[in-house]
């Protein structure tokens, strides 16, 4: 395996992006930031990969238009996933492992506010028995939350505690679109929205984009004194049918975690767009009590579609670059009620996974 590190990260998150759903004008400054961080030009990028969805954009081939922000003369090595940035990063990591390229810039974008997000996402569901009745994202999460409450695995207070911590931590995150904790009791006094969910239990609709730069070996060391080495990547998927899943569990997370070494993780950025989903993830991951969970505030304070999972990777990488932590875990999810999950371990040492550091 080649040693590959995250060496660049840029993000934008906002309640409403006043621009086109191809987000070209949003991507240009993101790429400028990545060039600034690495000292590269676009010609130093060996592979480009993006994550986005035409359903979100309301137009076909929106990712092709977004390529304008790269420039294609001379022709570029480019690909796309109809998934979150984290999966685009996974594809780039594989590309670097093949030895064909040493560097990659991956990006993702989405203007969630252009349509009705919770409705649009019904197109991710099983197309014969679910999509035709348009179950919305918030409702599917609510069914999952209720299943856990009924099973005695968590309660409304535990969910409010997650929201309270996220809102408080978000005060230090310039990109969060919702911030400012009050108290768990105050949150519990707010009205139900989609019973058993209150609005603060659900991620806000968020527009935005993000970019991550990967580099192998010495290329990474040239860019950063403390590159954030990707020491483990694993992703799995649970069944598409909601009925056949135990909604209080996420076996795909557990399975992904089992493939990685989580010992010594100091910080975990978990992509949980609903408060109870963080509780599901924490249980499946079995993290120690002293692991800092979502110091950015997490997806409950801003959840730009198709980049929020990758932003978790970027947030962990930033903390490794600065020397604040030596090992972290990033998680990304996609699909209804934590159906698909990707885990990445990042470390200040490229050999952490083998325990040789």
């Amino acid at each position: 395996m080649r040693d590959v590190a995250v060496v660049g990260f840029a993000q934008r998150q906002m309640k409403e992006f006043d621009g086109s759903p191809t987000c070209v004008e949003l991507l240009v400054p993101l790429f400028e930031e990545c060039y600034g961080q690495t000292g590269w030009t676009r010609h130093d990028v060996g592979f480009w990969c993006s994550g986005s969805s035409d359903y979100l954009a309301g137009r076909s081939f929106s990712f092709v238009q977004a390529v304008d922000a790269i420039g294609v003369i001379p022709p570029v090595n480019e690909s796309h996933v109809e998934m979150d940035l984290a999966w685009a990063m996974y594809e780039a990591w594989v590309k670097i492992q093949t030895g064909e390229v040493d560097t990659a810039l991956v990006y993702a974008f989405g203007k969630s506010s252009a349509g009705t997000l919770r409705r649009t996402l019904a197109l991710q569901l099983e197309p014969y028995t679910m999509t035709p009745i348009w179950p919305d994202t918030v409702s599917l999460a609510g069914l999952q939350a209720r299943a856990g409450i009924d099973a005695g695995l968590w309660d409304e207070r535990a969910m409010a505690e997650v929201a309270q911590r996220s809102l408080s931590d978000a005060e230090a995150n310039d990109y969060a679109i919702r911030r400012g904790g009050s108290s768990v009791d105050e949150l519990l006094a707010r009205p139900m929205y989609a019973d058993p969910l209150r609005k603060h239990d659900c991620a806000p609709v968020t527009d935005g984009a993000a970019a991550i730069v990967l580099a192998a070996g010495d290329k990474a060391r040239e860019v950063r004194d403390h590159p954030a080495w990707l020491t483990g990547l694993s992703h799995h998927i649970d069944p598409i049918g909601m009925g056949t899943r135990d909604l209080t569990r996420a076996p795909s997370v557990q399975r992904s975690a089992a493939a990685l070494d989580l010992d010594g993780v100091e910080v975990a950025e978990l992509h949980a767009p609903f408060s109870h989903q963080e509780l599901v993830l924490r249980r499946e991951l079995g993290l120690a009590d002293d692991v800092a969970i979502n110091p950015s505030g997490g997806a409950l304070v801003s959840n730009p579609m198709f980049s929020a999972g990758g932003i978790r990777v970027g947030e962990v990488a930033r903390r490794i670059w600065s020397g604040d932590v030596t090992k972290g875990l990033a998680h990304a999810t996609s699909g209804p009620a934590l159906q698909q999950n990707l885990l990445a371990t990042l470390s200040s040492s490229p050999t952490d996974q083998e325990g040789a550091s």
């Binding site: 004008e25 409705r119 348009w134 069944p239």
Partner: protein
């Protein structure tokens, strides 16, 4: 003035899908008023039936009819239904384990408030009046007064009473799922400037500061080198046809009777052609190199739209030399 122009857009299309033997069996059952599940190798009855056994991966063949009454295993309140959901008034989604099944089936539960729902409550399928072999043949669930003791938990050995519509017709082999999505579509700031220019009778493009190419409509970045395009340029309304097609085929939403010509017009000074109509000339006489100019609609009909230009018409000039447009083909 907002930075961008926006307008509502509806994207609608029908997905036509074949069902295969397993989902086809399930949907045929719905059409005939019964809920069909399948028994897996582990002995569980799963609804809707999975196409392959989750353990052995063998194709599903062991079908079972389950009851149309069942028990709520989880639910959520829907205060603001979205378009296409089974009810347009507040309702609950419920996961319901039908009697005889081992896993729940998701559908809408018709109740007026969250106080009328609870985990463990008894409900029954309410069939749609007209059934076609789709999940929407179930109109939703409704509460069973008195707990629905007509099913005593005996499971799959007892069939729910069949709905009035008798089994009939051929097996369901396909479904058509209409999809309709509503957006507020925004143009980019550069495109917005272009459309605002059109409302003043001007054709605005942008020049790339790096490679000096001129794009119309303007884009947010130069597709050649990725530079943000910032320098606005106004272009003349004359240009050259670089390529074209004669439209002979009628299609939905067509505004002009075929045959007519749709062509790429390279405005003088531009480095990218744009698509418009060529009229006032027999279709078979349109050719590459033809010099054309914009014909504007009456000013009082103008808006922020390319339709301010009705079409392009021949100028009568000699054809442009091939060299003047060959790199733009």
């Amino acid at each position: 003035m907002p930075r961008t122009l926006s307008a509502p857009v509806t994207v609608a299309f029908d997905y036509t899908r074949s069902t295969g033997p397993v989902l086809g069996r399930f949907l045929t059952g719905l059409r005939d008023g019964v809920v069909v599940g399948a028994r897996t190798s582990e002995g569980r009855v799963v609804v809707p039936p999975p196409e392959y056994d989750p353990v052995t991966n063998a194709a599903t063949t062991d079908f079972v009819e389950v009851a149309s009454t069942g028990t709520v295993t989880s639910w959520v309140w829907v205060p603001e239904p979205v378009k296409g959901q089974p009810f347009d008034r507040p309702f609950a989604w419920a996961l319901v384990t039908l009697d005889g099944a081992d896993v729940p089936l998701l559908h809408a539960l018709d109740v007026a408030s969250p106080a009328e729902v609870s985990t463990g409550m008894r409900v029954r399928v309410r069939w749609a009046e007209e059934r076609v072999g789709a999940i929407t043949d179930i109109a939703g669930y409704e509460p069973v007064a008195g707990g629905g003791d007509d099913n005593d938990g005996d499971g799959a050995s007892r069939l729910a009473p069949l709905a009035p519509q008798p089994p009939s017709g051929d097996p369901v082999t396909g479904v058509v799922t209409p999809v309709e999505l509503d957006y507020l579509y925004a143009a980019s700031p550069e495109e917005s400037a272009f459309y605002r220019g059109l409302a003043e009778g001007r054709l605005l493009g942008q020049r790339c500061p790096t490679c000096h190419k001129v794009y119309i409509p303007p884009r947010s970045a130069c597709p050649t080198d990725g530079s943000p395009t910032t320098d606005e340029v106004e272009l003349p309304e004359t240009g050259t046809v670089t390529t074209f097609c004669i439209v002979n085929v009628p299609f939905l939403g067509q505004k002009i009777t075929p045959p007519y010509v749709s062509a790429y017009v390279l405005l003088d000074g531009a480095d990218i052609a744009f698509l418009h109509l060529i009229l006032d000339i027999p279709a078979e006489e349109v050719h590459m190199g033809l010099r054309v100019k914009a014909v504007w609609k009456p000013r009082e009909e103008w808006g922020t739209t390319i339709e301010n230009i009705s079409h392009f018409t021949p100028t009568g000039e000699p054809d442009a030399a091939y060299e003047t447009y060959k790199v733009h083909l």
